[in-house]
């Protein structure tokens, strides 16, 4: 078995920082992984997501520089999710991004409410306050240094998206259950 030097490095590091608690990650990275993960628990109607078609994640707004959620999401391009290839597209005009199965609103997304209203069939994510009250499906928040999320089940139903009970169990708040 080949022992990579980087592992040795992390061992040394672990020994040096032994009493430290669980590893910390950049918020953007965790949120991006969270969005990816939640998508595993969703089901789209077959007419929106035909067999063999790629799953598309749309980033509405400016992805921003390194270290931002938008950039972390762009890096998910090409991963496999539910046996499908993940495509990531970003832009400020929703119609040009379609069809979106996952839609993440950046804080500078133009007209967020309108976008949410027009994003039928997309599992929508946002981290602004009151996101699910504005018609979004998954509202992401950070509390006590952990990622938390709220679900607007009514909005998901309206879009024809089914979310598994396992996901809802982990949510902080489920609206419209």
């Amino acid at each position: 078995m080949r022992c990579r030097l980087t592992h040795l490095g992390s061992v040394l590091l672990a020994l040096l920082s032994a009493p430290a608690a669980f590893a910390q990650y950049a918020e953007a990275e965790v949120k991006a992984a969270f969005i990816f993960n939640v998508a595993k628990f969703a089901e789209w109607p077959a007419e929106l997501l035909p067999a063999g078609a790629p799953l598309r994640l749309c980033v509405l707004g400016t992805p921003g520089g390194s270290g931002t959620l938008g950039t972390a999401l762009l890096e998910l391009e090409g991963k496999t999710l539910q046996g499908r290839k993940l495509e990531v597209r970003s832009g400020t005009t929703l119609p040009l991004l379609r069809p979106c199965h996952l839609l993440v609103l950046m804080p500078d997304a133009p007209e967020p409410r309108r976008a949410l209203a027009e994003a039928q069939g997309a599992l929508t994510f946002g981290d602004s306050d009151g996101f699910i009250d504005a018609g979004g499906i998954i509202g992401i928040a950070v509390a006590e240094r952990r990622v938390r999320f709220d679900v607007n089940l009514e909005a998901a139903r309206r879009g024809g998206i089914r979310l598994s009970a396992q996901l809802l169990r982990l949510a902080r708040q489920v609206k419209g259950q």
């Binding site: 078995m1 022992c3 030097l5 980087t6 592992h7 040795l8 490095g9 992390s10 061992v11 590091l13 672990a14 020994l15 920082s17 032994a18 430290a20 608690a21 669980f22 590893a23 910390q24 990650y25 950049a26 918020e27 990275e29 965790v30 991006a32 992984a33 969270f34 990816f36 993960n37 939640v38 628990f41 400016t62 921003g64 520089g65 390194s66 270290g67 931002t68 938008g70 950039t71 762009l74 391009e77 991963k79 597209r89 400020t92 005009t93 040009l96 991004l97 950046m106 804080p107 500078d108 133009p110 007209e111 409410r113 309108r114 504005a134 950070v142 240094r145 952990r146 990622v147 982990l170």
Partner: protein, 666 residues
């Protein structure tokens, strides 16, 4: 045991053992967070709430965003160094201040009064020089910046005066990004050191941060053979000290900010004709800025921004002169003192209530309650003692209209009533068209103005410099921008522009009076290509061609070409990062077109380390890596010429310097 799942198949035994012994390595070994089950992901601790909030710069334009991560990785020490790495920007230093040039327009000694600087939307430019000093004098620590938004071109249709060549908005880190305390220390060449302690927290609707820092540099010893042959400045004549304090508290929609800074600089250069080699020449600058701001959403589509602000700018200098030639004492201290105080308020409504439109309307008022300037010798001779008050009122509106799925039209208009009841109307027009998801073109027309400032009008010691009859300068720009995403992580931005600055205010080197000089025309092109790889590597290169004409000649300090390269590479996956910066400037003119300053290129290198936990980081930087000797054009110094008969052309710049920096978080 659940954690066994994260151990990579090829991990060797020590890693496995360590993973079992110390939970901290468990997640670290799973480099790919997306492979964690959701339940475990929700347990991962996150650091730094780096959201990408609504851009503070409303105008669609050629925008650059510099992130906190880039600031750390490239080791920029001052705002001036950060900006000099951005396309179309360059900076010069005269051992007193750092002056920025944008798109070639860079009259040396203009104190950056043609760029508007904002901290989270709050104006920093003072009300004596309308300037911002971008070195250690700048009131905000670079470490406290979340990101810098740079908008090139005129921004007067929203921001009013001074936004001629660009608007630089610094977005401050919020309390949550500290979530505890942070200590930083650095040390560098010329006995330079800095200490900073900051803390911040967010709990529910309450968020606060506070920071204090101090900087001390002994400086170097220099010779200025063109001005004082055979004289070496004594140790300490280049010393610089600075202190900054910052506090911010947010309660729900309301946020209060207080910033205070003071810099003390000894000037070794004998500028203004002070005694060469005398370490008593000092120039001190201070800012105190306060703001109370609220952001209120109402209805589904409306947001009201309100701010109430106040500020003070302080300038004090001690200038040792030799009066023996005219029968006076051989050392007399002359003191310059300026105090600017202002307050104001702004209300801005942003509404998307009409489908397909985004309206911004605003009203802004600034009252300059004090514009005090004094110049006197220590024996009681007063050359100038003047105070003034003035007002500026502006009203503006902007509408972004969505035309079809891919086109946006932006119309903006601002009307100002400025000092001396001068009126300015600044229109702006922009058309943004998205050709396809990867390509966007923008056509921009913008205008801006700059009213003569209190220094240019009222600083009249012994009948020189100030000119109360100065007219305002105005600027118009036409620009075409093409932005493109060339596949994954690759971005291209190109722009072609043409501008005209009418009646630019400058000091006539012969009469020593400020005048409205001949119009300056500028034509230019900016090309930038950036690629960012997964894992953090990046490469960015840009070329700026900037061709200026004033009365048929090239203005001083206007390099016809800039080449800037920034490259970064993670070394391994453990947090080591190497960053290289290259900056090249073409030749420039100096001393009213009578002297030539050769072109130069310099390299800066920073090696940094940050463990995955982000609990601390270290960096080592070398500036001017190859110890390149080069000069910058000198600001026009008619006092020096009047006293010594010498026209100063240039300032030699620093050779190789070092800095080591450590940051710890608790």
């Amino acid at each position: 045991m659940k954690i066994a799942r994260f151990i990579p198949a090829n991990a060797c035994l020590p890693a496995v053992l360590a993973a079992l012994a110390f939970p901290s390595i468990v997640a670290a070994a799973a480099h790919d967070l997306t492979e964690l089950p959701l339940e475990d992901l929700l347990k991962v601790e996150v650091v730094s709430a780096s959201k990408y909030p609504q851009s503070g710069t409303a105008a669609p334009s050629a925008v650059t965003v510099v992130s906190r991560e880039d600031i750390r990785r490239f080791g920029w020490r001052t705002l001036s160094e950060l900006l000099a790495a951005q396309r179309g920007f360059h900076a010069i230093y005269d051992r007193s201040y750092r002056y920025l040039g944008v798109r070639g327009f860079a009259p040396p000694g203009d104190y950056n009064n043609r760029i508007l600087f904002l901290v989270d939307g709050m104006r920093v430019n003072d009300n004596i020089y309308d300037s911002v000093l971008a070195g250690e004098e700048f009131p905000l620590d670079l470490d406290l910046i979340e990101r810098v938004e740079i908008v090139r071109g005129p921004g007067a249709s929203i921001y009013g005066g001074n936004a001629l060549f660009g608007v630089v908005n610094l977005v401050m880190r919020n309390g949550a990004s500290f979530d505890g305390a942070e200590l930083a220390a650095d040390a560098g060449s010329r006995r330079t050191s800095r200490l900073r302690a900051s803390a911040g927290k967010r709990s529910g609707d309450v968020e606060w941060m506070a920071s204090a820092s101090g900087f001390d540099s002994r400086g170097g010893q220099y010779e200025f053979p063109d001005v004082a042959p055979g004289v070496t400045s004594p140790d300490g004549a280049d010393a610089e000290r600075q202190q900054r304090f910052l506090g911010r508290l947010r309660l729900g929609e309301w946020q209060g900010t207080l910033m205070h800074s003071q810099r003390y600089k000894h000037v070794p250069s004998g500028s203004y004709g002070t005694i060469p080699g005398d370490d008593g020449h000092r120039e001190d600058d201070g800012y105190t800025l306060g703001e109370l701001a609220a952001k209120h959403r109402f209805g589904e589509h409306n947001e009201l921004d309100f701010r109430l602000f106040g500020g003070q700018y302080r300038y004090d200098s001690t200038l040792p002169y030799d009066y023996s030639a005219s029968g006076g004492p051989s050392r007399m201290i002359n003191r310059d003192k300026q105090r600017g105080e202002w307050w104001g308020s702004e209300a801005r409504l942003t509404s998307t209530a009409w489908a397909g439109q985004k309206w911004v309307v605003g009203l802004a008022y600034t009252g300059n309650t004090r514009q005090y300037q004094r110049n006197a010798d220590d024996d009681g001779t007063v050359y100038l003692d003047t105070d003034a008050t003035s007002h500026r009122t502006g009203i503006y509106a902007q509408d972004e209209i969505t035309l079809g799925a891919a086109t946006t039209l932006m119309l903006g208009l601002r009307h100002d009533v400025a000092e001396d009841s001068k009126r300015f109307t600044s229109p702006r027009l922009a058309l943004v068209h998205q050709l396809d998801p990867a390509n966007t073109v923008k056509l921009l027309y913008g205008t801006a103005y700059r009213n003569a400032n209190a220094y240019e009008r009222q600083y009249v010691p012994a009948g020189l410099y100030g000119n109360p009859d100065l007219g305002a300068e105005r600027m118009q720009t036409l620009e075409a921008v093409w932005e493109s995403r060339l596949g994954e992580g690759t971005r291209f931005a190109g722009s072609l522009y043409r501008y005209r600055v009418r009646d630019p205010i400058s000091l006539d080197p012969v009469t020593q009076i400020n005048v409205n000089a001949a119009d300056v025309w500028g034509n230019g092109v900016e090309l930038e290509l950036e690629r960012r790889w997964q894992g953090g590597a990046m490469l960015r290169g840009s070329y700026s061609g900037q061709f200026l004409r004033e009365d048929g000649l090239r203005p001083d300090n206007a390099p016809a070409g800039l080449v800037q390269v920034n490259a970064g590479l993670p070394l391994g996956s453990d947090g080591w990062y190497a960053a290289l910066e290259l900056r090249g400037l073409a030749a420039r003119k100096a001393a009213s077109n009578t002297a030539d300053i050769g072109g130069h290129g310099i390299a800066n290198f920073t090696l940094s380390y940050r463990p995955r936990s982000s609990a601390w980081d270290l960096s080592a930087s070398v500036y001017n890596l190859f110890d390149k000797r080069y000069d910058d054009p000198a600001p026009v110094d008619t006092a020096l010429t009047a006293i010594t008969g010498i026209v100063r052309e240039r300032f030699a710049q620093d050779g190789r310097t070092f800095r080591l920096k450590a940051v710890a978080r608790f």
